[in-house]
């Protein structure tokens, strides 16, 4: 059952990425180019997503727990460590080079552009390396 619900939510998320234009790296790279061919669309994607999520979380998190599962897994850390600066810096460089972040890269996979087919396996290797480096015997549950 959870597989089916998650499949539907993944479809919804992916449809959002396609409709918003974020599955096209050219749009993302133009957003990151305010000194050149700037396309502010990505700010509207983030705006639409944050407004809905901000309001929706406010309603959902009033509940005692989720429908399926015991408790809400919401990150609680507040400290600013080296990883919360180094990770996004490394991620941002890759984002600026390829125009893909993880969601749009996976959604673009089915369109099978050669660049996407090179990007996604390398991204999965990068994820695996980061987990191998950061997950000690017991890993904290975070976003």
């Amino acid at each position: 059952m959870s597989f089916i619900v998650n499949l539907a939510l993944g479809l919804l998320f992916g449809a959002g990425l396609v409709i918003s234009g974020m599955s096209d790296p050219a749009k993302v790279l133009n957003f990151l180019d305010p000194a050149g061919t700037w396309d502010p669309s990505l700010a509207f994607v983030m705006g639409g997503a944050v407004i809905v999520t901000f309001l929706g979380y406010r309603l959902v998190l009033r509940r005692a727990g989720p429908i399926s599962g015991d408790t809400f897994h919401v990150p609680t850390r507040k400290d600013i460590d080296g990883r919360i600066l180094a990770g996004p810096a490394i991620f941002g460089i890759g984002w600026g080079l390829g125009g893909f972040c993880p969601g749009p890269a996976l959604t673009a996979l089915g369109l099978a552009a050669p660049g996407t087919l090179a990007f996604v396996p390398a991204m999965i290797v990068g994820m695996w390396i980061a987990r191998a480096l950061t997950e000690r015997p017991v890993a904290p549950q975070t976003a």
Binding site: S2, V5, L7, L9, L12, F13, G14, L17, V18, I19, S20, M22, A26, L29, L32, T37, D39, S41, F44, V45, M46, G48, T53, G56, Y57, L59, G65, P66, G69, P75, K78, I80, I84, L85, G87, P88, F91, G92, I93, F100, C101, P102, G103, T107, G110, L111, A113, P114, G115, T116, A118, F119, V120, A122, M123, G126, W128, A130, R131, A143
Partner: protein, 140 residues
């Protein structure tokens, strides 16, 4: 040049937000793609594997389903510089999992929770992305 699409982008963003809210309602998890995809690989520390697999299958199937159902064409311009794309993928995968989140986990869900760590992360990857594009397009 790409066309500025405020309404389509706002609407698509709202669908992304709706998916994030429903995922929290259904099983109490953050809709962070790097977290969901990164944890599809072993070692497994919880029993949410099938949920994560379902979400990623849906994400990948979305454009294929949209094309099949509506016959729309989805335009994209992806760099065909394969070594560049492999390097970019490695950095994106490593960096996002290293800081526990990407554009969705920190950007959408974290900003919506007003998380300080997510605000710092989002500002950092935005600045790093803008600087990278500036160097490539305007400085080299």
């Amino acid at each position: 040049m790409t066309e500025f699409t405020p309404f389509a982008s706002l609407f698509g963003g709202a669908l992304i937000g709706l998916s994030a809210v429903l995922l929290m309602l259904w099983e109490g998890r953050i809709a962070g793609i790097s977290g969901i995809a990164g944890r599809l690989l072993p070692p497994y520390r919880d029993s949410a594997f099938l949920s994560r697999l379902g979400f990623i299958v849906g994400l990948v199937a979305a454009p294929i389903g949209m094309i099949a159902l509506t016959g729309i064409s989805i335009s994209q311009t992806v760099s065909s510089n394969l070594p560049l794309m492999m390097g970019a993928g490695l950095l994106v995968g490593f960096g996002s999992v290293y800081c526990n989140g990407c554009t969705s986990g920190h950007g959408v869900c974290g900003l919506s929770r007003l998380s300080t760590r997510s605000i710092v992360a989002t500002a950092t990857f935005m600045v790093a992305g803008i600087m990278t594009v500036f160097i490539i397009r305007h400085a080299i």
